[in-house]
Amino acid sequence: MIHSYMLQPKEQTHVTESYVSSPPALLVVDERGTVFTLGEKFANDAPRGEFAFNVLVNGKECGEFASRIERRNGRIRIFGHQGFKTWNGRTQSFF
């Protein structure tokens, strides 16, 4: 299910500050207004002791599962069972 908060906001436009992490933040927004959220599909290969969920970019699947989404030094990165991956805005994917 896609909740309204997973989509680009209509009224609220801001860029998430550095060192904000979801969870506990509900969403992370980059300079382009792209919204990163955790979906509701469980990953079977989550990092030990954590849940991992599908990562949604503007409410759409990006093919990644992660326990958290972070904004660090102007970059968006996710943490999954393979460690950290960073968002590439040009290729629209994590690497």
Partner: protein, 155 residues
Amino acid sequence: MLNATVTGAVDLAQVFVNPGVTASLEFLRAWCSQAANATSAQQSVALRTQVTAFPTLTSATPRKLKLLDPASAITGGTAGAAGTAGVNASVAGAGAKSEVIDDNFNVLNGWLWVPTPRDTIIMNASAASGFGLYFPVQPGTLTSWSAGMTYAELG
């Protein structure tokens, strides 16, 4: 609830579910956010249980995440009674509240609670106690709040 105007009072439940007699509920996720403005402000939030005298709510029928699931044991209700769910309380209700999770967040970022596997919260059937997401203090901006909780019905 989606982009609702919340009541300007303290200790109000924004989302409230009271298990019925047929199924225990395992709470897996809770969230809230606002879309009224881009003004940075801190807001406290709490996950609590409440007994005996429940809040007065706007009725909300639980939505399925899996369309083939059977009908929920929880129905929409305005009184917070057993087996019902509601949102956006207008009256707090006199029943005692017990804190489970307390937190604070910046309204620009919203708040998401996703427990680790051993941290999920289970309200047993016939608990005589409801569970909800509360704003312990009145938000600075009352408009355009969204909130929700995800739960699984057990046995």
